[in-house]
């Protein structure tokens, strides 16, 4: 079991309030991702759940039991750190065994679980090596191995993939997702990368300056962002936000159009502009188009082979039902 409830949890460092009182429920078995720009308090929130930071006010419950004042060791949670935080003086085997040793588990059971975890994580051949002799991806797997052998109530991941190179990151993303599908244990995952959030989460919690901006499934956030912050944070490339006359004509202060919801047309487009930088990805091409209605270039996703070059004139037409409208406070207008 691993249902985590935060009840008006607040965190202050001295006078600075990092997390204003906040409520959140993480259901048992859920994969929840905390996402937000750096300094938004997502790591602090995770550390509060872990017990590595003291809560200033409010209450944390794990499976209904108060955990606010429990030391980390007593909360039954496992954590995977950004730096892997492996014990450099211990072999891989001893690293994985450490939490079981601390729990006083008998040796036969320890060996059984180490063998099982090592096999699942492709570490069987590396059990007697030191962490220093492993690659980044292998170290990350050891850290995960160390977490799973305890059979924790929930896993906490603190930006676990940000030290890996891009190709490895995609692979590890899948492995963690698969692990979740297999174990069905609650996972709380912190990242600043919205792609990781979108691809892995059951539920995304978007944070800004300690506030929860929106909680929802990846597609909910994509289709109906509650405000302009979530709108521009979720989705890649970023949503185009327009103000002024064009927004007023839609009865809004700001309108948002995702790059993939703009069609390139022959003539009479809503937007007419000049092609700036083009990014050719093969399957897609992203054009950055300079239009009079926007200060920054508007991003447009087009098919793989559109014969437009730098400086060409382009006509664009937004898909009418995909336009997001926001009021003066930046909140979504239904």
């Amino acid at each position: 079991m691993g249902r985590i409830t935060l009840d008006k949890v607040q965190k202050k460092f001295g006078e600075a309030e990092v997390i204003p009182p906040l409520d959140l429920t993480i259901e048992d078995g859920e994969f929840v991702v905390f996402v937000g720009p750096s300094g938004c308090g997502k790591s602090t929130l995770l550390r509060l759940i872990a017990g590595l930071e003291d809560v200033t006010n409010g209450e944390i419950r794990i499976d209904g039991n108060p955990a606010t004042n429990l030391p980390p060791a007593k909360r039954g949670l496992a954590m995977v750190f950004q730096s892997y935080a492996l014990y450099p003086h211990m072999s891989v085997r001893k690293n994985i065994a450490f939490p079981m040793k601390m729990a006083g588990m008998d040796q036969a059971e320890q060996d059984r679980r180490i063998a099982k975890a090592a096999e699942a994580l492709n570490l069987t051949d590396y059990l007697d090596r030191r962490p220093g002799q492993l690659s980044g991806g292998q170290r990350q797997r050891v850290a995960i191995g160390r977490a799973i052998v305890r059979e924790p109530a929930a896993f906490l991941f603190d930006e676990p993939l940000s030290n890996l190179d891009a190709a490895l990151r995609v692979g590890m993303r899948m492995e963690i997702s698969e692990l979740h599908a297999k174990l069905q244990t609650t996972m709380v995952y912190v990242t600043h990368d919205q792609v990781e959030a979108m691809t892995m989460a059951d539920k995304i919690v978007v944070l800004r300056a300690g506030h929860i901006e929106q909680v929802g499934s990846p597609l909910e956030l994509y289709h109906s962002p509650r405000n302009t912050f979530v709108a521009s944070f979720i989705g890649s490339p970023k949503m185009n936000l327009l103000t002024g006359d064009i927004a007023r004509s839609h009865d809004a202060t700001t309108i948002g159009i995702r790059p993939e919801h703009l069609d390139v047309v022959e003539r009479d487009g809503t937007f007419v502009g000049r092609v700036g930088v083009s990014e050719h990805l093969g399957s897609d091409t992203f054009f950055h188009v300079h239009i009079p209605q926007m200060e920054e270039p508007m991003t447009v996703r087009a098919g793989g082979e559109v014969g437009l070059r730098h400086g060409d004139t382009i006509h664009l037409h937004p898909q009418a039902d995909k336009i997001h409208r926001f009021d003066a406070q930046g909140l979504r207008v239904a």
């Binding site: 872990a50 017990g51 590595l52 030391p71 980390p72 060791a73 949670l77 496992a78 954590m79 750190f81 950004q82 730096s83 935080a85 492996l86 014990y87 450099p88 003086h89 450490f98 939490p99 601390m102 729990a103 160390r146 305890r150």
Partner: protein, 276 residues
């Protein structure tokens, strides 16, 4: 661009380094040579260097006149005892300062170090009175305590610097893995800081071994270590250079040999971990 070092410059620097090295080593070498001379050759003018009748009579005389085994045992007990006691106290203290620093941690560290700037003689009177009150004058336990207290700031400082090099996340990982404070220190912190702890131990054994103010003042016979043993040869009836030299060599030999075998650790210790 790499700096070009000409052969000429290399030779110059080599000669200079050897020169300074020999200059520093000279007193020890001279003591060593003198310890094998007769008292007459030892004070001869002009001095003789290598070509004299080498004799072991000074060593025999020193061994006969005083209790070298007792002084050696006292030195070992006092140096090891004060260092290990200091480590036991300093590890938790340095842990707290390195991993759970408060607003005043830096001030506490500086304050601790500032006690080293106090002239030792300033606390002589109160310390002697306390020792008398507890009736522990001329005892090993008194010297273990006092040398521990005197070197504690250095031990804490050194351990603090080494602990700071250990990433806090690893200790947090241990906490998440179910380790309590005791296990965190035993299984994770200490093994990771072992090279640093070893340097600290070595350096403090040397400091305690060579400490000559308190050891000479607070002992008479029973707890007298090698420092007192050397001092006893600069007797009021006149200096016996050859015997004094023999005593000195016997006193410094153990620590010199230990230092020779642990040079690497010592350098790291003396530079507070800056050289790896």
């Amino acid at each position: 661009m790499a700096r070009a070092i000409t052969t000429q410059k290399k030779i110059m620097w080599t000669v200079l380094s050897w020169g300074i090295g020999l200059l520093i080593f000279f007193p020890i070498m001279w003591t060593f040579l003198t310890s094998f001379k007769t008292e007459a050759t030892a004070i001869s003018d002009p001095p003789v260097w290598f070509f004299f009748d080498w004799t072991l009579e000074n060593y025999a005389a020193v061994l006969e006149r005083s209790n070298y085994p007792l002084a050696l045992t006292n030195s070992i007990v006092i140096a090891l005892g004060s260092t290990l006691l200091g480590i036991l106290i300093a590890v938790p203290a340095a842990w707290a300062m390195a991993f759970v620093p408060g607003k005043r941690t830096k001030d506490v560290l500086l304050w601790m170090l500032s006690t080293k700037m106090l002239p030792a003689v300033g606390v002589l009177y109160p310390l002697v009175l306390i020792a008398k009150y507890f009736d522990i004058m001329d005892s090993r336990i008194l010297l273990v305590m006092i040398l521990m207290l005197i070197n504690l700031p250095i031990i804490v400082w050194m351990l603090y610097t080494y602990f700071r090099e250990i990433p806090g996340e690893i200790l947090e990982a241990a906490r998440m893995d179910g380790a309590n404070l005791k296990n965190e220190i035993i299984y994770v912190l200490t093994p990771m800081a072992l090279p640093g702890i070893a340097s600290t131990i070595l350096l403090n054994i040397i400091l305690a071994w060579n400490e000559a103010f308190w050891t000479i003042i607070l002992t008479t016979v029973n707890a007298a270590p090698l420092t007192k043993f050397i001092a006893s040869f600069s007797a009021p009836e006149g200096l016996f250079y050859a015997k004094l030299s023999a005593a000195s060599i016997m006193a410094i030999a153990p620590i010199l040999i230990m230092g020779w075998f642990s040079q690497k650790q010592l350098v790291r210790g003396l530079t507070f971990g800056a050289v790896k």
